[in-house]
């Protein structure tokens, strides 16, 4: 430890003495740190913000409860086989009651597909029937989700909110060009905006598991956006009872459970699975991210990770080269110093460690400079309110750069590792010289 402390002092002193020579390496590494931290911060913020928004807009729970296999092809052919019956629902309701402090909302949902008619117009729909009151909680900070009209209320058994694409097919559009989004929150302003509809009453036709066709009236009270364009053309949100009447069954697809502490979801999943098994029920508590519904999100995440890995690789090679150049010169100039230290009793390993520490100190200084620049850049960009479009998403995204301790520490760790390796590579040949050669400055 004493030797390490001594070598560290020497390393710091040497970096201070030769700061002019090191400025370019510090600059390169600092820029590399800024690039890594900014890019990683942008990607992580993009993914997290999209996940948060997805959870809020689609009322996704921190954990879901459904039947095993509910995401498979068979479930699309015979969805009724995978519904939670009244016994299953009683179990989940009981579990929720036993965890009043842990559960903020437990929303049941049932997806029904069918045909909507409004006069001569008809279109396919996907009705997400759900508990309206619990759904309001599950929407978190997206409780006003209507682009035009208003959200459905608890006391409206036939009220539906239609996706803009579906509504248009049925002759219902937002009226006028009123501003929908609050520029500060990037969410709809909670005010009822007018709609222009040929008729707000639509006939919904669905069929029961036994093939019986049911038809009910729905009342369009609001228009919303499905987020993704293709989804927008079929989306309907409505009360659970409406969906159940359409299929003539009291079953539900599952529960979306919003937790007071979302990070405890895995714990509750394990607990509920064990209790369900003990009760003789086949239920699958699961995270949304692990279901087939998260396929698009997972693919997007993989794609962005690919970009990030390429950028990280390129930046680390460049930064490593910069440090190598600086350290190689430094080491060559200090051959006699190395010889002197060796003659005083320092070993080759001590010399290598000293230069590695110098590189690490350079990385530390670069990291601090980079952190200051990255923080400033982050605040600048986040305050600018820049928006952009991204692929399949229907609305603009606000450009934001995240910044977490782990992001900065990871960037710093990468750069330090590269710098230390570069320092070691630069020093190893010179350190191998015999003491006499080193004292004479021979290579």
């Amino acid at each position: 430890m004493k030797m390490f402390a001594l070598l560290l002092r020497l390393a710091v002193r040497n970096v201070r003495r030769g700061w002019r020579h090191s400025i370019a390496a510090i600059g390169t590494m600092a820029i590399g740190f800024v690039a890594l931290a900014t890019f990683q911060g942008y990607l992580s913020e993009l993914l997290e913000s999209q996940l948060r928004m997805n959870f809020a807009r689609n009322m996704l729970g921190d954990l879901m409860v459904r039947k095993p296999g509910a995401g498979g092809v068979d479930a699309r052919v015979r969805p009724d086989k995978y519904w939670l019956d009244e016994k299953d629902q009683a179990f989940v309701d009981g579990w929720v009651k036993r965890h009043p402090a842990d559960v903020k909302a437990a929303m049941r949902s049932l997806l029904v597909e069918g045909v909507a008619n409004a006069g001569p117009a008809s279109a396919a729909f996907m009705l997400f029937g759900h508990d309206i009151a619990q759904g309001q909680i599950a929407r978190r900070d997206w409780q006003w989700y209507a682009w035009a009209g208003r959200p459905a209320r608890v006391d409206e058994p036939n009220a539906v909110v239609a996706g803009l694409g579906l509504a248009q097919s049925l002759g219902c559009v937002p009226k006028g060009n009123l501003q929908v989004f609050d520029p500060k929150t990037a969410k709809p302003i909670p005010v009822e905006r007018p709609m222009d509809c040929k008729t707000t009453t639509i006939q919904l036709t669905g069929s029961s598991p036994t093939g019986r066709v049911n038809a009910l009236d729905g009342e369009i009270v609001g228009l919303t956006s499905g987020g993704v364009r293709e989804f927008d053309q079929r989306l309907l949100w409505g009360p659970l009872s409406l969906a159940q009447d359409l299929v003539g069954n009291k079953g539900v697809d599952g529960y979306q459970i919003v937790l007071a502490e979302p990070q405890r979801a895995p714990e509750f999943i394990a607990q509920m699975a064990a209790e369900a098994k003990a009760a003789g029920l086949t239920l699958e508590p699961i995270l949304w991210q692990e279901t087939e519904m998260a396929d698009l999100f997972r693919r997007g995440k993989e794609m962005l990770s690919m970009y990030r890995n390429l950028v990280v690789f390129v930046l680390l090679v460049i930064a490593g080269s910069a440090v190598l150049t600086t350290m190689a010169k430094t080491v060559r100039e200090r051959t006699r110093e190395i010889g002197t230290l060796r003659s005083l009793g320092f070993r080759k390993g001590h010399m290598l460690l000293m230069f590695a520490l110098e590189a690490a100190v350079l990385a530390l200084v670069s990291g601090l400079v980079g952190l200051a620049v990255a923080t400033g850049l982050r605040f600048g960009v986040n305050s600018a309110g820049i928006t952009y479009r991204a692929g399949m998403l229907a609305e603009d995204i606000v450009l934001e750069i995240g910044g977490s301790a782990s992001t900065y520490l990871t960037g710093f760790a990468f750069l330090t590792a590269v710098a230390v390796i570069a320092g070691w590579l630069a020093a190893r040949n010179v350190v191998q010289l015999r003491v006499a050669q080193a004292l004479l400055g021979e290579h």
Partner: protein, 453 residues
């Protein structure tokens, strides 16, 4: 300074290790940009082909004015009748920029297997016109797998199935029709009445490839047509996997009891003409009292996935290019700084011999330019080799929004490589100039006595 370039090149060899490290940094940085640019080019070609040929956006599309928003709700009012369609086709035939015109009818119906029905989004297209799209060289070059069905053959390839329809793979599974027409040809058909509520139904449904399509005519009457499932395919959008269906145009017109079509798509010899063709077509039709909306494949409204994704990808590539360029400029500036500090006495000697400041600055700027050019050349070679290796590896990946997977291909384009290459040398030269001119302000005697040399 006739031999300034030769002098600069000779100076590079004086500190090979450092210059090699700098060249390596530039080479790896540029190679990374070549790969990234090549990936973006590949994705752009794929998405463009997907949008134009598979999502049927074509290069230009013409609708009745307001039809894109309203045709589904009011098909009689917002779709072209026969006379209007003929007018458009005649204009397209007379315009040398247009390669071909394709008629489309879009609508909604229910696809049934005699036991159950499912909502289906129907696209009516003439099988021969569909063939021309699927066999187009631009599509085959971008992604031949897009042109092939997942199972079976397209309608134009199956001569003895005049009402051949193609189902999206998800819809095929939901209707429990695992076999296409070619696989059941010649076999006994399923019973007229199926045992739908028994396990026998699965076997019975699989016995043939018959599909019933139910819909409403434009005057509100229920109607139905039969079809034979000749192919299944992966829909261009994942959410359409359970609903998309391609039907012969004539069959769909029979279903809706109409001669109307929803829009006409135009393929051009050169997609760069799309904007002008769209304007010219709209004006020509307006002169004939036809109010229309024309869209190109680059319109956000018409091809949102292609336009949106390319905007995002372009931003990402641009951002990364700027990052890497900035880092490289700093790296070279650093290397040049060290070189300058080492050679201050040399510069002092030159100044003492009568060389001007500008000569010295010019020499060093030449050196930095040579380093960057060598680095770019090496980087291009590394990038192209890496691209070749990746393309030969047959790696597949699943980008968002694409059903199934596609091969990872890197297709560096000359314009992209050149654009990225043009960013580096100016930045490096400016950085070098900035560093060296500061030192050249010193007097020759100070340079000669420099302690850092």
């Amino acid at each position: 300074m006739k031999s300034a370039w030769a002098f600069a090149f000779a100076n590079l060899r004086r500190n090979r290790k450092r210059n090699l490290a700098t060249v390596a940094a530039i080479a790896f940085g540029y190679a990374g940009l070549v790969l990234l640019g090549g990936y973006a080019v590949r994705i752009e070609r794929f998405l463009k082909a997907n949008a134009v040929f598979i999502q049927h956006a074509n290069h230009v599309a013409v609708w009745v004015q307001g039809g894109l928003d309203n045709a589904a709700a009011e098909p009689d009012k917002y779709q072209f009748d026969k006379a209007q369609t003929d007018t458009i086709l005649a204009w397209a035939k007379g315009d040398k920029r247009v390669e071909r015109a394709t008629r489309y009818l879009r609508g909604f119906g229910m696809a049934g297997n005699a036991c159950a029905t499912r909502p289906a989004n129907l696209l009516g297209i003439d099988p021969q016109e569909h063939a021309a799209l699927l066999q187009h060289p631009e599509l085959l070059e971008a992604s031949p797998e897009l042109a092939r069905p997942a199972q079976g053959q397209w309608a134009y390839q199956v001569k003895d199935a005049p009402r051949g329809v193609a189902l999206a793979a998800g819809l095929q599974k939901v209707l429990q029709k695992p076999k296409v027409f070619d696989e059941v040809r010649g076999r006994p058909p399923a019973p007229t009445v199926l045992d739908c509520d028994t396990p026998k139904a699965v076997e019975q449904l699989a016995a043939d490839a018959d599909i019933q399509i139910v819909g409403q005519t434009y005057d509100g009457t229920l109607n139905a047509v039969d079809g034979q499932m000749v192919a299944s395919f992966h829909a261009a959008e994942p959410i359409a996997e359970d609903t998309a269906m391609i039907v012969p145009l004539a069959s769909l017109q029979t279903l809706y009891a109409t001669e109307r079509i929803t829009y006409v798509g135009l393929l051009l010899h050169d997609s760069a003409d799309a904007g002008q063709v769209a304007l010219d077509l709209k004006a020509a039709l307006a002169a004939k009292d036809m109010k229309t909306d024309t869209y190109t494949y680059a319109d956000q409204t018409w091809a949102p996935y292609y336009v949106g994704t390319m905007a995002f990808l372009g931003s990402m590539v641009g951002f990364i290019t700027m990052l890497v360029t900035a880092v490289l400029v700093f790296t070279v500036a650093g290397a040049m700084t060290l070189a300058i500090l080492e050679r201050l006495r040399e510069f002092g000697t030159w100044r003492a011999l009568g060389f001007e400041r500008g000569h010295v600055v010019g020499l060093l700027v030449r050196e930095s330019l040579l380093v960057s050019l060598i680095g770019l050349a090496v980087g291009l070679a590394i990038g192209l080799c890496a691209a070749f290796a990746i393309n030969s590896g047959g790696f597949r990946f699943s980008p968002p929004g694409v059903a199934g997977s596609i091969q990872l291909l890197i297709t560096p384009a000359v314009w992209a490589c050149a654009a990225q290459a043009m960013l580096l040398p100016p930045g490096i030269m400016v950085a070098t100039w900035w560093v060296v001119r500061g030192q050249m302000r010193k007097k020759p005697v100070d340079l000669l006595n420099a302690a850092t040399a």
